[in-house]
Amino acid sequence: MKFTLNVWRQNGPQDKGRMETYQVDQVSDDMSFLEMIDVLNEQLIGQGVDPVVFDHDCREGICGMCSMFINGEAHGPGRGVTTCQLHMREFKDGDEITIEPFRAKAFPVIKDLMVDRSAFDRIIQAGGYVSVNTSGNLPDANATLIEKPHADAAFDAATCIGCGACVATCKNASAMLFTSAKVSQFALLPQGQVEAKERVLHMVNQMDLEGFGNCTNTGACEVECPKGISIENIARMNREFLSASITSK
């Protein structure tokens, strides 16, 4: 397969950046999108051109590192997949493909297609944890009974890999889906109740400080989320935040 690639090149955070056009051929339809970029980079290195910098790690859809905004969508046209799980057979031979970094004020570009997503880490640090006694007398994990639907919903929320596709997709660059998944995975469980109010208040506060936009409930995030995190989590966070704001001291 042959492709014409329009790739965003940016030397650093301060650089303005520009689109560059490259041709790649001898791409197999079984290649993942990242492997196709590997082919491009081999070609660029051969020509003495700087290879395209992009994030990647596990290449099996669980680490959340690969980003890329492909043809106007986070992780490209596939549903429920990360960029490493997107295969070239999803495209037609000869297609023109536009590749950009995830764009948000809170995700500054480091170089080319790589962005700094540590704003998510700071949201987690603000409250995405539970305090447990680690002095040696740990309670039995199964001693606390949890309703199956709650356990399932908490698990579903916890499958968020923090990739940032929700932010990249959202017309407002809002981090509500990510933050709400991280609030929900604890809010649904008895272990999360101790810090429930402080958690939601502090995590939302940090989300605002990072410069993410607001939620318009377009639902684009849940469509593009590789893990299918539901916007029901956003409603839950809205509920938690409202009640915590009214009742906290």
């Binding site: 106007g72 004020k105 809170a106 809002s174 318009t216 377009t218």
Partner: protein, 225 residues
């Protein structure tokens, strides 16, 4: 909680105010439409009596201040949210396929809202301002009560083709705004439930079609009869 911004200033708080004022404005639309139904029946007395009641009854007067406040809060808050949202993505995508994952009205709420506000300003100048401070001719009904004759002014306004067409376009815009806005307000408040949310969405879609369509039928009815 000194470090958090709670019910004032946080992004969620701004959205709560949008949702609550939006839903209150929805309830107003229903009352306003019911009051205007005499226009569709050509019932001059009933319409003038309604207009007189709405401008003089104390409870309505009190609620009207809540309504003005809601319009101002919904507009100002909405514009501030739109400004923040634009600032959250300083560099735009070269290629952005918004239609792939969200419907058109949800992506254009600020635009639709701004047009609705523009309509509202013109609408209030034409009728609300005239009724309160303008020179509306007086009329005496069969029982001897004297009212301001808003009916005649309304009919005269809607007999102008361009004016009526502007109303129809504005109602289509309002319809799109409500198409997303109604159910979105419930989601923002966290009033979400697997059993009731589909019902709220269905009511929202019905509301978004029925209410603006009935409003739009008033100028069309006057224009065509």
């Amino acid at each position: 909680m000194a470090t958090t911004r709670g019910l004032f200033g946080s992004s969620l708080a701004r959205k709560y105010w949008m949702a609550l004022t939006g839903l209150f404005l929805c309830s107003f639309l229903v009352i306003h439409l019911i009051g205007n139904l005499p226009l569709l029946m050509g019932n001059k007395e009933a319409f003038n009596a309604y207009a007189h009641f709405m401008t003089t009854f104390p409870l309505i007067k009190a609620v009207s201040y809540l309504l003005y406040a809601s319009i101002v809060i919904h507009s100002v808050d909405g514009l501030m949210l739109a400004k923040q949202n634009m600032a959250a993505r300083p560099a735009n995508y070269v290629k952005y396929n918004g239609a792939a994952n969200a419907n058109w009205s949800s992506r254009n709420m600020a635009l639709l809202g701004t047009f609705t506000l523009l309509f509202l300003i013109i609408h209030m100048k034409s009728f609300w301002y005239e009724m309160h401070w303008g020179s509306v001719p007086m009329i005496t009904d069969a029982e001897g009560s004297t009212y301001k004759d808003l009916y005649t002014i309304t009919v005269a306004a809607f007999e102008q083709v361009w004016y009526s067409l502007f109303y129809v376009v504005a109602m289509i815009s309002l319809g799109f705004h409500l198409w997303h806005g109604f159910a979105s307000a419930f989601q923002t408040m966290g009033w979400s439930h697997p059993r009731y949310t589909p019902l709220i969405k269905a009511i929202g879609y019905g509301f978004a079609v029925l209410i603006p369509a009935t409003f739009a039928s008033i100028p069309l009815y006057i224009l065509l009869t």
